[in-house]
């Protein structure tokens, strides 16, 4: 890309510019980053509520049976794996392979759904409810917020799979894929903060 002379008396010469939505040239990519910023701060405030309770209420805040890893551990591994499979699909799309993109998306969707299933199962095993005490309220609300984000992410991936199946993308025109995958990785990263807060910090005292 050549320099643009700013002096109007000189001829305006600009090199060739990409047209339309390509990678970070797309405004949508920047818009997704804004969403990530504001959603991150949402989770900061959610976790602030948890830590505020923990600090103010003392040891009585935690339930008798501390949260265990037996479901959350595999769930975490599944979610991390789903980021890898999504990256694999995206890499395929970059090379123009619709099959690899679709495969990556579908496996990621399956892993995401599995995570949601595990979470719901863990929910059903809890001896307390959202209305039992402050801890129960925080646990179900915060993990519920995260689960809602996973479900939203699944919706995005489903839409991408649909569009990809319809042949909407090629190796250059795939900004929807680039933008949508950011959200999924973000949801995974947030889970690590939620996981650390609920499943690890109780053992650090």
């Amino acid at each position: 890309m050549s320099e643009l002379p700013l002096d109007s008396r000189a001829p305006l010469n600009i090199g060739r510019l990409p047209i339309g939505s390509i990678g970070r040239a797309a405004n949508g990519w920047w818009g997704m980053m804004m969403l990530v910023v504001t959603e991150s701060s949402l989770f900061v405030y959610l976790l602030f509520a948890y830590y505020y309770f923990a600090a103010r209420s003392g040891p009585g805040f935690l339930p008798e049976a501390l949260p265990s890893f037996h479901l959350s551990g595999p769930g975490t591994a599944i979610l991390i794996a789903s980021s890898v499979t999504l990256w694999f699909g995206q890499r395929g799309a970059r090379r123009g392979s619709r099959a690899q993109l679709l495969a990556g998306l579908l496996v990621t969707i399956a892993l995401g759904a599995l995570f949601v299933g595990l979470q719901i199962f863990e929910w059903s095993e809890k001896p307390y409810t959202i209305a039992s005490h402050a801890y129960g309220s925080a646990f179900f609300t915060i993990t519920g917020f995260h689960m809602a984000h996973v479900v939203a992410g699944l919706g995005i991936l489903l839409a991408l799979a649909l569009w990809s199946g319809l042949g909407a993308f090629d190796e250059r025109r795939m900004s929807a894929v680039d933008i949508g995958t950011i959200y999924w990785h973000f949801v995974d990263a947030v889970w690590l903060a939620v996981f650390f807060t609920f499943y690890i910090t109780p053992y650090l005292r």
Binding site: D7, L12, I19, S41, L42, A131, H133
Partner: protein, 647 residues
């Protein structure tokens, strides 16, 4: 087949043929579809401004009713419950439904014009943020229809906001309405930030941005970081009320103070969010009437950013009376004092600009001068309440009410009214009457000060805020009468503004492109501007493109008449973040009904949540998501799909 993903954009001069061609591409189609589907930032900006003024009028009428009630002791015009609902809705209306949206309106209208581009980064999202603003405002106002408006003040403390104490729908309207409104605020903020980062005239590097752009961008980042706190606070309140969670009620181990923390973590930054763009407007417009550039451009920008940053570290100064630890109070008190430094920098920059300039006294100038003087008064009363010792005495008295009105009317409304006198000719093509403008200004200014200056005294005399009446011998009668008289004069002054606008639209003097001989890009295009804003993309070589010949501050020359043509469909430039060098040619969306339709689905959804129609709520949620999928469906005309290029 090789598809061409790049092209070399052509440069050229402004011609009649080009203007006609662009007009056909960019104009909003007439008729109902155009009304619903338009994505023109200028139309959306004016809608924001008109709607915000409508809420200002409604909130003002609520205030007048309250002032009638308080004019004398022991009055019974309003019942206590009516009074509670009025002062709550007055605060909600002015702070949320007027103060930010009016600034969003100006910013929406002006951003692409000031930046030398053709629209916002996300035109459809822009339409969406307006529709959601309107819908959420109407949603909260629907509470009056069943006589159950929010009644716990705009900051709505727990536990009184909880179900046992407040069983009606009042709080549910407020809680859901604020979550709904937050969506509008958030997407609007994201749009401003991305527009500034990505869509500017070539050469408009960040040290050449108008201050108003800096103001709105700074607060937009603030909104992205702060707004989730209040949306969450209200959502948790709603959960406590519907599902028996224990976030705020002590019975199950909840913490009422959690509400105050979450609310003020948001609401103190919010105070700066609703004044910094107005300060930016003054910083851009005041120098035009001083016939010189603003003094200390860089310092004013740094002060703006510093104020926003510090604004995140002062929220506990609203909570000095809640029994928090002494160390915490000391820290937050100190932070609140420090914030006077950037405020003072801006104030001295304005004064120095007036001092060293050749002042042209217009109504707009008078408003800006009034703005500065009231900013000082409101700032000083703010410093008083930043002191823990003084605050414990003044907390919940009328002193605080006087302070917040000096800040919000002084720094928001007066800046906005000055800005309106300044930019109305650009928006309408007609000048406002200066003669009527003087009456408008002086009545507003005198009425405001008559109403609120004595109110400091009312507070020092010990009158608590939010009481619906007071007894005869309390010694508060005469000051309250003064305030009531002043508030009616203020209201009459505002009425004259509307008369002025109405008469100007009917038979105002034609404005021409640049009636004030101002330096920035919006004055380089016609008044009102064409749908495509600029026929060719301007190139910017200095901070004051239209004053370059006089100032001699630039190395090259800005170019208005010659630039990139970009006429291959709706196109604009993507530019680099720091230097605004061209990076790509963006395809911009046509008018689109989806933002409106998605808003309708969301309105149904929030109504269903309010009334516990769970299945309808679920259906509306699904409809909202499907609407978004259709909205975002990759499209060839936006060059988002396989094989699409400029041909």
């Amino acid at each position: 087949m090789a598809v061409d993903y790049q092209k070399r954009p052509e440069a050229g001069y402004v011609t009649k043929e080009l203007e006609a061609k662009l007009h056909k591409m960019w104009e909003t189609k007439p008729g109902l579809f155009g009304v619903i589907a338009t994505v023109d930032h200028k139309v959306i900006g004016i809608r924001y401004i008109v709607t915000a003024f409508a809420f200002l009028v409604v909130g003002g009428l609520q205030a007048l009713l309250m002032r009638l009630q308080l004019a004398q002791p022991d009055q019974t015009i309003l019942t206590p419950e009516q009074y509670n609902q009025l002062f709550s809705m007055h605060g909600i209306t002015m702070i949320f439904l007027y103060a930010l949206p009016i600034l969003s309106g100006f910013s929406n209208y002006l951003f692409p014009l000031l930046l030398g581009t053709r629209d916002m980064a996300f035109p459809r999202l822009n339409a969406f943020s307006y529709w959601v603003y309107l819908a959420s405002g109407l949603f909260m106002y629907a509470s009056f229809l069943i006589g159950q408006a929010p009644n716990n003040g705009w900051f709505n403390y727990a536990p009184y906001a909880l179900k046992p104490f407040n069983p009606g729908l009042n709080m549910d309207f407020y809680a859901l309405g604020m979550v709904f409104f937050g969506i509008s605020t958030t997407v609007g903020a994201a749009n401003f930030v991305v527009t500034v980062m990505r869509n500017r005239a070539p050469g408009m590097s960040i040290n050449r941005l108008p201050i108003m752009i800096w103001g709105t961008t700074t607060v937009s980042v603030g909104i992205l970081l702060a707004n989730p706190a209040v949306s969450l606070a209200f959502f948790l309140l709603w959960l406590d009320r519907q599902f028996g969670t224990h976030f705020y009620d002590t019975a199950g181990g909840g913490q009422p103070l959690l509400w105050q923390h979450l609310f003020w973590i948001f609401a103190h930054p919010w105070v700066y969010i609703i004044v910094l763009p107005a300060m930016g407007m003054v910083s851009d417009a005041l120098p035009v009437f001083c016939r010189r550039p603003l003094v200390a451009y860089t310092l004013v920008i740094l002060a703006t950013i510093t104020t926003m940053l510090l604004g995140f570290g002062v929220w506990v100064h609203h909570m000095f009376a809640t029994g928090i630890p002494f160390l915490s109070m000391s820290y937050f008190s100190g932070a609140s004092f420090i914030i006077t430094i950037p405020s003072a920098i801006a104030t001295f920059a304005w004064i120095a600009t007036i001092w060293t300039g050749r002042v042209v006294v217009t109504t707009a100038f008078l408003y800006f001068a009034g703005f500065i003087s009231m900013f000082v008064i409101g700032g000083v009363s703010g410093v008083v309440t930043a002191s823990v010792a003084a605050d414990l005495q003044l907390h919940d008295t009328y002193f605080v009410v006087a302070h917040i009105h000096y800040v919000l009317i002084g720094i928001n409304l007066f800046g906005v009214l000055g800005g309106l006198y300044f930019w109305f000719p650009k928006m309408s093509g007609k000048m406002l009457s200066e003669r009527l403008g003087r009456w408008n200004f002086w009545l507003t200014f005198l009425g405001f000060n008559l109403a609120f200056l004595p109110m400091h005294w009312t507070g020092l005399l010990g009158m608590p805020r939010r009481i619906y009446t007071y007894p005869e011998g309390a010694g508060w009668s005469w000051v309250n009468m003064l305030t009531t008289v002043g508030s009616f004069i203020l209201a009459f002054g505002i009425l004259l503004l509307f008369v002025n606008v109405w008469m100007s639209l009917r038979r105002g003097v034609a404005a021409g492109a640049n009636p004030w001989d101002a330096p920035s890009l919006e004055w380089a295009t016609a008044s009102p501007p064409p749908a495509y804003n600029f026929t060719v993309m301007p190139v910017v070589a200095s901070r004051h493109p239209l004053w370059e010949d006089r100032l001699g501050e630039s190395e090259g020359h800005s170019s208005i008449e010659r630039g990139l043509i970009l006429d291959d469909g709706k196109e604009m430039l993507a530019t680099s973040v720091i230097d605004a060098a061209p990076r790509a040619i963006l395809k911009m969306p046509e008018d689109d009904p989806w933002p409106f339709l998605v808003t309708l689905a969301m309105t149904l959804g929030f109504t269903a949540l309010l009334l516990h129609w769970w299945w309808i709520g679920l259906a509306a949620g699904v409809a909202t998501l499907l609407g978004c999928v259709f909205w975002l469906w990759p499209r060839g005309d936006l060059a988002q799909t396989k094989g699409t290029a400029h041909e």
